[in-house]
């Protein structure tokens, strides 16, 4: 099948590739770019294991063509830690609060939580639960995920205050 050029920015890096028009974004990320952090759980937009951040929105990358992401700014789990390897507050918090078990939903869950906290830096439990309702987890029962996101919100607010003070 004929390939088309596509360009976008992923985790701050410009990407230019050729893809078949029918290639889904999740397969492009995982198979062509070897960004295997986002996972495939259902391919029908229900589970959210493939969640990435695309132009300021949480997007399920299993139900969007790569070509639809032309020119987009994308963030994946591989772009969450700092360049020096320092973990993002959400990554720290998920570990601290035991917010994961098998780890399969975790990259999508963290990306979704990140966008949620951009929109609502101090969410209530109910707002978190509603905010992550598009991401399924089969292991944790969500309770510790909610706790992790709350904890991350505190860590992130603290970091911001510190930055402002400096």
């Amino acid at each position: 099948m004929k390939k088309s050029p596509v360009s976008m920015t992923i985790n701050g890096q410009p990407v230019e590739e050729l893809v078949e028009p029918r290639t889904l974004l999740i397969h492009f990320l995982r198979e062509q770019l070897n960004l295997t952090g986002a996972h495939i759980g259902c391919e029908t937009s229900h589970c959210g294991a493939c969640t990435i951040d695309l132009d300021g929105k949480s997007v399920k990358s299993c139900t969007i063509f790569t070509l639809q992401a032309e020119g987009a700014h994308i963030r994946t789990i591989e772009g969450m830690a700092a360049a020096d390897g320092t973990l993002h507050a959400l990554q720290e918090a998920f570990r601290e609060k035991h917010g994961l078990q098998c780890g399969y939903c975790t990259p999508g869950m963290i990306l979704r939580a990140w966008r949620l906290l951009q929109e609502n830096p101090d969410p209530t439990d109910a707002e978190i639960r509603f905010g992550i309702a598009g991401n399924l987890c089969r292991c944790t029962g969500y309770q510790n995920i909610v706790a992790a996101i709350k904890h991350a919100a505190i860590l992130m607010a603290g970091a911001q205050q510190k930055e402002a003070a400096e």
Partner: protein
């Protein structure tokens, strides 16, 4: 050295540094998982790798008249198309199941369930494979479909398994009908019949447990790579029991076992789905042998839900005999078990109904009798233990519902009925009427603690007031209180009870301490999220006094790990956890000799203390495990081999019996059928607690799966065998919004026969949770004369149940 330290560390500090048992140690696994650096099967990419996909049956029961693969083969990018005709010369068109039956790898003469595998397409990428799967053309002759298990043994029922239609003996005894698989019977039938004849009170009810599916977030998948030059096969896959897969692969393929390398990398949840061997694994192996290239097979979600490993589908008729005072005198249960088209249940080989004979539960039944009839239907094969030990959640659900039905008949409070019949602390070890020896328990303490935690009498008073208001027409809300007391049976298991295809169900650990005091340990189990890398290290840390941070745990590579039977049925802690402790004790014995040598005293004169051996009565004279590790390689005592390592293959003397008391408080809107969990309290006793944080996580997760099963999950078939619930649109996986908030508590009754007293916990919350939810829903309607409302309790069904009671105006 250490003896000269100016300020000695406190014992508490030394202990804390180990991060051993009882510590809420943060998980080692999370470092990679939170960064998207897990290594799951579908992440694997090999040079020249091909991709396999199935063409599947449209019909539930039909004769295959012809299969035309020419169009599929002609599609550019398609490398091979396999059908039963291709597998037959290799004798791989059928494969043995764990239950002693055979299953078609690819359907040849006829199909027996919808979505059954017919052709395996191998192509250069997954898109082309999917395109080609659609181009396979199959001509069918439809046959009458058998969906209802209650009709399976009627004289005029369509015969499903023509391959074994004439066989009157199956793997588990006599077959009475071509669609009959086995009858399994246990207990004293005559004594039980007598108890019922003499009973003042008796109850009887059909308690169905619907077909569900474990549905881990990662589906089943494999990558096979056959090296023709070396004659070696490497197989990566989603295997909860990788060593068994290796043995079975060797038997099936005739490739010697040492030339098969089975690797289970990170697994995205298992819950029983990844115990069995599926046609996809076999086809990926054959395709790699045929094409000479690595072949990847990845199930999609619909294939997962409709073909690999359903759970439950047990139709249980439970009868209890009792005195008017509510003392139970006998239990009789008959089960009709729907096994689908092939008997592919993942049970220990001699246990066709798993450990269903735990059905006497936590109660002191003097006599009991159980019979189970397994039948074939035109549904997917499976019958796995979905987050439970083998058929234990079915048994727990059966007895816990039956006890509530009895309580209603006697006009007794369900908690009170349980308190009158729970096995007493002094009765342990307790031999149950159906043959298990329960190891330890303090059931009354657990139930009383749970009742106190929720202020049970106040809840009952509130419920009573609400019922009165309902009957006066002042409210359309009802309140249900579900009490469940469960006894799990896990840790399969003792070789006297359990084997899989003849292999005893022991498990293993191999621990090596290196010169610097760092440890590499490998086990025969395989984590799928249970955090073995974290918790096994805690056992070792406490046993031999080396910090958990210095211990690396490895599982899943069958070339390097010792042979073991894998992780399911909450068996890892009872078996490999025990092996870990036993291997540590062998190491410790040698370490004691080395320490005595270094300290120039007799080995009887030194004793272990947290992280060191100390000369008795002289705490300043010691050698730490780090010193000893170095000495083991540097200057071992004369006559002692250098090195410091041990292997243990642990054959447990008995199962372990975790237990718990769960209470669910439910608010039900009669007009909409919507059930809202107001409160859920779970008290678990899993013996010694290795990592409380991980235990709580396991309980949260298991309760959420119990909630899903009780309140919504069902794999539904229509009357012609079309599977109707095989997507996440239809199959209920709760989101964070529906999922209740969990309250947890515990008591600790160590197992007397386990080296560290641990019992296992992963599956208790599912086993105890399902009846707690269902009892809560049922309890809301009991005062109106309702006996049993079947699961799942989704709003529509609850509304219908209320309608049947005349509550919908």
């Amino acid at each position: 050295m250490n003896e000269m330290s100016p300020v000695p560390e406190s014992r508490q500090d030394r202990e804390a540094k180990l991060e051993g048992m009882g510590c809420r140690r943060k998980r080692v696994e999370d470092v990679r998982f939170t960064q998207g650096r897990g290594n799951y099967v579908d992440d694997l990419k090999l040079p020249g790798m091909l991709f396999g996909d199935f063409h599947r049956s449209s019909y539930a029961h039909a004769r295959i008249k012809s299969i035309d693969t020419s169009k599929a083969r002609a599609l550019p990018g398609v490398v091979a198309v396999l059908t039963a005709a291709d597998l037959k010369p290799l004798k791989l068109d059928w494969m043995p199941t764990l239950a002693g039956d055979v299953q078609a790898v690819l359907a040849g003469d006829k199909v027996l369930f919808q979505n059954q595998e017919i052709a395996f397409i191998v192509a250069t990428d997954r898109y082309i494979a999917a395109d080609a799967a659609d181009l396979v053309e199959v001509e069918y002759e439809e046959l009458p479909v058998l969906v209802d298990p209650f009709k399976a043994m009627l004289p005029d029922a369509p015969i499903l398994r023509e391959d074994i239609a004439d066989k009157t003996e199956g793997a588990h005894g006599q077959r009475r009908h071509p669609n009959h698989i086995f009858t399994w019977e246990i207990g004293d039938r005559e004594a039980t019949d007598l108890a019922f004849r003499n009973a003042a009170v008796a109850t009887k009810h059909l308690i169905p447990y619907q077909r569900v599916h474990p549905c881990p977030l990662e589906t089943c998948q494999s990558v096979a790579s056959f090296d023709k030059i070396k004659g070696e096969l490497t197989l990566w896959g989603t295997f909860q029991a990788p060593h068994v897969v290796r043995t079975v692969a060797s038997i099936l393929s005739s490739i010697p076992e040492h030339k098969i390398h089975v690797i289970a990398p990170d697994i995205g949840g298992g819950f029983g789905n990844k115990v069995g061997v599926y046609p996809g694994y076999v086809c990926s192996i054959v395709a790699s042998i045929v094409t000479g290239k690595p072949v990847k097979w990845v199930e999609d979600r619909m294939e997962n839900l409709s073909t690999t490993a359903f759970a439950r589908d047990y139709h249980m008729t439970a009868e209890i005999a009792a005195t008017p005072q509510g003392k139970v005198t006998g239990l009789r249960v008959h089960v009709l078990a729907d096994h689908g088209a092939f008997d592919a249940c993942a049970d220990p080989s001699k246990w066709p109904a798993g450990f269903f004979n735990i059905v006497t539960g936590s109660y002191d039944f003097p006599v009991a009798h159980v019979s189970v009839d397994g039948v074939y239907t035109n549904k997917a094969p499976g019958g796995v233990a979905y987050r439970c030990s083998f058929r234990v959640t079915e048994a727990a659900y059966c007895i816990e519902r039956a006890m509530d039905i009895l309580a209603a008949k006697l006009g007794l409070d369900p908690a009170e009925l349980r308190l009158r019949n729970l096995i007493k602390r002094e009765q342990f070890p307790y031999l149950s009427a159906l043959g298990w020896e329960y190891d330890s328990g303090d059931y009354h303490a657990a139930l009383n603690k749970a009742l106190d935690a929720v202020s049970y009498p106040a809840l009952r008073a509130e419920q009573k007031a609400m019922q009165a208001a309902f009957q006066r027409g002042e409210t359309r809300q009802l309140m249900g209180i579900g009490v469940s007391f469960f006894t799990e049976i896990v840790g399969a298991g003792p070789s006297k009870n359990c084997d899989i295809l003849g292999i005893a169900m022991f498990d293993s650990a191999e621990i090596r301490i290196h010169p610097t005091g760092a440890v590499i340990a490998r086990m025969g189990t395989k984590s799928q999220g249970q955090a073995h890398e974290t918790t096994y290290a805690q056992i070792i840390a406490s046993e031999i006094g080396i910090p958990a941070a210095d211990i690396m745990i490895e599982e899943g590579n069958t070339d390097t790990a010792p042979y073991g039977l894998g992780t399911y049925g909450s068996r890892s802690t009872p078996t490999a956890g025990a092996a870990t402790a036993m291997a540590c004790r062998k190491i410790k014995a040698k370490a004691q000799m080395i320490a005595a040598h270094l300290l120039e005293v007799h080995h009887d004169d030194v004793e272990f203390d947290i992280d060191r051996f100390v000369v008795k009565g002289m705490p300043d004279r010691f050698k730490t495990m780090k010193d000893i590790s170095w000495a083991a390689y540097h200057a071992p005592p004369p006559g002692l081999e250098p090195g410091l390592e041990a292997v243990s293959y642990y054959d447990p003397p008995n199962m372990t019996f975790p237990f718990g008391a769960y209470i669910c408080v439910m608010d039900i809107d009669v007009d909409t059928g919507v059930c809202t969990t107001r409160r859920f309290y779970a008290l678990d006793d899993c013996g010694t607690r290795i990592n409380p944080m991980i235990i709580e996580g396991q309980v949260h997760g298991g309760l959420t799966e119990a909630f899903a099963i009780a309140m919504g999950q069902e794999i539904v078939y229509d009357e012609i065998g079309n599977v109707q619930g095989a997507s996440l649109m239809d199959f209920f996986l709760p989101t964070a919004v529906e999922t209740p908030v969990w309250e947890t508590g515990f008591t600790t009754t160590p197992s007397p026969h386990h080296p560290i007293g641990a019992k296992g916990v992963g599956e208790s919350p599912n086993v105890g949770g399902v009846p707690a939810f269902s009892n809560a829903v049922n309890d809301a309607f009991t005062f109106l004369g309702s006996q049993h409302i079947a699961m799942p309790h989704d709003p529509w069904r609850v509304w219908k149940a209320a309608e049947a009671l005349g509550l919908q105006g």
